[in-house]
């Protein structure tokens, strides 16, 4: 009976060993080569307290740099501290890269460089404190922050963003056709910049916000109070509203509790 039990344990032990080998502990700077370079990939960051800066470069690998925020000013000394003390691990399977940080005590700064012009599925989750900034990224982007702002600059594709306390800014060079999107925060303004030809059906949930827009937004039967200044409109929202631009398209949720809303032509 005992031998039998031991035998049962063996496959699990082998699995655990294999798993440990597949995972790597990140050093201060690490280059992660994709399983299939040049092919669409996924990158998921699951972090506790972290400021994340992600941008593109002319290379085929994902370059991750980590440092302690308190040492941010003196980068040189920070380089000597291995990221293992931040408990950051990375794993990859079939072009899906997952980077996780389990140390909740230290707030880190993470800089990520990803290959330019390569479609990606990106998920950034920051559980506690930290701003997330993504620049020039192309693909399907999800960001969940908590206390901190979310900024997407010159991105292409689609985005689903949320934070609790902090502003949300998202500027698109182009948007994925017929893909729904969502932008939400509790306390903070939301600024969305879309190509002038973008089609969308907005669902705007806000209590006492003012919406500024230079799009011609069709609110259907509802006629919210609007003042016009040049081609800019100032619309006072009194409750949830639905508005279409350019004849309507995929649904875009805009949701906040306090803070103004901006939907602008890029």
């Amino acid at each position: 009976m005992n031998a039998y039990k031991k035998l049962l344990c063996l496959p699990f032990l082998i699995l655990a060993l294999a798993g440990a080998q597949a995972q790597g502990v990140l050093k201060n700077q690490q280059k992660i080569a994709l399983n299939s370079p040049g092919k669409p990939y996924s990158l998921e960051l699951n972090l506790h307290s972290a400021s994340v800066m992600m941008s593109t470069y002319n290379g085929r690998e994902i370059v991750v740099e980590v440092r302690d925020e308190s040492r941010a000013a003196t980068l040189d000394t920070a380089k000597q501290v291995f990221a293992s003390s931040y408990k950051i691990e990375s794993s990859q399977q079939n072009n899906v890269v997952v980077i996780t940080n389990t140390n909740s005590a230290t707030k880190i700064v993470m800089t990520v460089k990803v290959p330019a012009n390569l479609a990606a599925t990106l998920k950034v989750n920051v559980k506690k404190i930290g701003d997330v900034t993504l620049e020039n990224i192309r693909g399907n982007i999800e960001v969940n922050a908590n206390t901190g702002s979310v900024k997407l600059l010159n991105v292409a594709g689609s985005a689903v963003l949320s934070t609790v306390t902090g502003s949300v800014l998202c500027s698109f060079t182009s948007i994925a056709p017929s893909t729904p999107m969502a932008f939400s925060t509790l306390n903070g303004e939301i600024r969305l910049q879309l190509p002038a030809v973008a089609k969308a059906n907005f669902r705007i949930r806000s209590e006492k916000a003012v919406l500024f827009t230079d799009f011609d937004m069709d609110f259907g039967a509802e006629k919210p109070r609007t003042t016009t200044q040049g081609n800019k409109k100032r619309i006072i929202l009194t409750g949830p509203m639905n508005g279409a631009i350019n004849g309507g398209g995929p649904g875009i949720l805009i949701s906040n509790s306090t803070g103004n809303l901006f939907i602008e032509k890029k």
Binding site: P40, N94, N95, V96, T121, N140, E142, N144, S158, V160, L161, S162, V164, P177, S178, T179, P180, M181, A182, F183, S184, T185, L186, N187, R203, R205, P250, G251, L253, S255, S257
Partner: protein
């Protein structure tokens, strides 16, 4: 000599000339075969009357993306014993569904012009279509991409609250989805069905399931809109919990007042 199987081939124009002539002369003499032919024709007419849903403008793009997503998933799933096992189960269930539809069709064609039977089975077929829409929603809700899950929630506008499977899936999404925005969109979709007591209760129960201040305050809005008295008790308890977010606390207080005022 009656060859009923050939009637179908005859209708499809698949018979060679000689057999075709034989069939035609046989049909003139054999009542039972003529009846069979008429029954099959009637069935075809009924299929003709099936309402054809106009494809939406995005259908082609949607389909392409779904196909690409599927290809991508397939590639990702191409290794791993368990994944293969799961996908085997999927193929297996597909086959069974196809077999069921095939059998149903065969049965319909065989039935001897009993109109009522055909109508019953026709209803079964339209249930099947409803079931397929349900399957699409349920499987899209499992998609790893938040945009796809949001899309699934948007599809549920076309179902009604009696579809308990879809309602359960929406309530599960509201309580468990890792993405806050997906939960917010789901909440909006569920409020539409809040006339249904089952959905309504699910919404009330969901209050204690939420940790995100965004969803908590959106649920508070929903409760005020529904004038839901049961929320008051739950909130009273929540207000006594010290870890409750400050802005949610305020939100709950004003929402309680709003509900109490409307109930007077």
């Amino acid at each position: 000599m009656c060859d009923k199987e050939n009637i179908v081939h005859y209708l499809h124009g698949e018979l060679p000339a000689l057999q075709r002539k034989e069939m035609e002369s046989h049909l003139q003499t054999c009542d039972s075969c003529r009846e069979e032919l008429n029954a099959a024709l009637k069935l075809w007419d009924m299929f003709e009357e099936l309402p054809i849903e106009p494809p939406s403008a995005n259908m082609e793009a949607d389909f392409r993306r779904m196909l690409n997503g599927f290809k991508y998933e397939e590639r990702r799933n191409s290794t791993g014993f368990w994944k293969q096992l799961i996908s085997f189960r999927l193929h297996w269930s597909y086959s069974v569904a196809m077999l069921a539809i095939g059998l149903l069709n065969g049965y319909l064609i065989q039935s001897q012009g009993k109109n009522k039977d055909i109508r019953d089975q026709f209803a079964a077929l339209s249930d099947e279509v409803k079931g397929m829409r349900q399957t699409v929603v349920l499987s899209l809700l499992q998609n790893p991409a938040a945009t796809e899950r949001i899309k699934a929630v948007a599809y549920t506008e076309q179902v009604n609250s009696s579809d308990k499977k879809v309602m359960d899936a929406l309530l599960t999404t509201l309580n468990n989805d890792p993405n806050i925005n997906v939960r917010l969109v789901t909440l909006d979709a569920l409020v539409v069905f809040a006339e249904d007591p089952y959905v309504r209760e699910g919404l009330v129960r969901s209050i204690t399931q939420q940790e995100s201040p965004l969803v908590q305050s959106a649920l508070a809005d929903a409760m005020v809109k529904l004038k839901e008295q049961r929320a008051l008790q739950i909130w009273k308890k929540q207000l006594s919990e010290p870890e409750l977010d400050q802005s949610v606390r305020e939100k709950i207080r004003t929402s309680m007042q709003a509900i109490q005022q409307t109930s007077i």
